[in-house]
Symmetry: C2
Subunit: 204 residues, 2 copies
Amino acid sequence: MAEKDTRAQIVAAARKRFVHFGYGKTCMAEIAGDCGMSPGNLYRFFPGKLDIAEAIATADYENHLDHLRRQAARPGRRAGEKLHDFLFEGLRRTYNRQERDPRALELARVIAAERPAFSSWMMESERAIMVGVMEEAERSGEFDIADKDFTAELIQSATVKFRDPQLWSRLSLSRLERELDGVWKLLVEGLAPKPARARNQETA
Amino acid sequence: MAEKDTRAQIVAAARKRFVHFGYGKTCMAEIAGDCGMSPGNLYRFFPGKLDIAEAIATADYENHLDHLRRQAARPGRRAGEKLHDFLFEGLRRTYNRQERDPRALELARVIAAERPAFSSWMMESERAIMVGVMEEAERSGEFDIADKDFTAELIQSATVKFRDPQLWSRLSLSRLERELDGVWKLLVEGLAPKPARARNQETA
DNA sequence: TTTCTGAATAATCAACCGATCATTTAGTCT
DNA sequence: AGACTAAATGATCGGTTGATTATTCAGAAA
């Protein structure tokens, strides 16, 4: 049980350093020092520096996933709206995080580059939530999607631009929100016009 | 008139070097040497090295644009299909180009980084073509889109992943094609089911 | 024996320096 | 004068070296 505590202590010390100085600028000796132990001892708890970073990212992301799952489970909301919430939560989270602390970007970059499996896990976890929403929508008749997991992948492909916004564009949050709203509408309704039908006017 | 010829000669010499050795590995002196002139003389025809690269890229891209415009003007094809052609042409062009000559990627990267206006011009030119298709579709009743230019932007946003595919993913062409086909269907038809209606089964 | 330390090792990083190259310009040639 | 050259300039690049740091491990402390 002390094992778990020690790991938590290491992660906490590392998180503090990573946010304050960045991943590259904090060395194992400093983390160890903050925990009152020797550098070598860290390796009894983590295989390496990157694994400490991954532990931090995993914890943070699981937090986000919980939030998304709770949102997706909220009753009395249409699937289309849930998808909207889902996409916007993702955009706002990464945008604000990176706005508040530019070093978070460095961490994300390093993990994405060195641990492709981590990114896959994130994408997959999000797809699982979307599939759940689609299944519910199928029962209610709102959507009728044959291959739900593939469709979830397509939605991810179509919203790449909003996943790591400031990684590759310098658009403002409000501009990104306007665009994401438009893309969401397109995905739900399509370009082709539909005959009048019971479809509520969803607004952002 | 000799002025135009000299410019063309310089562009031709530079193109040869850029594809063979890459932008970074060819120097102005070499281009000048190939043209039988001194390095300094190049500056009477182009403001700088990057402008030669831009001239090459512009010529190539205008070629592509012509192709796209011809395709968009082809009669007897539905707007949805034209959009499909349009998106696939873009994907295949960049994919094949970069497959055939990895140095093309370097050139594209440099120009995109140093000449943001060039990228804007490309995006804008493509939107103009899409807007044309949408206008035609409006007349035929296939689509009915209020803000056509914004919608064209949205389509671009939703297909970012397929614009510079190997810039950020290592997916195979066939995988990318399958995804783009799915995204296209989603954009045209939407997630929400439609009552039966005269809509042909468009196939890639 | 188990837990931990701290020195040893090897990989990576950063500052430096000479070389290369884009760009300018003084001057040559026609 | 107008067209061009080639030397001059300053910025950038690539390679080297010393220092920092991740990781290992032989052994000390418990």
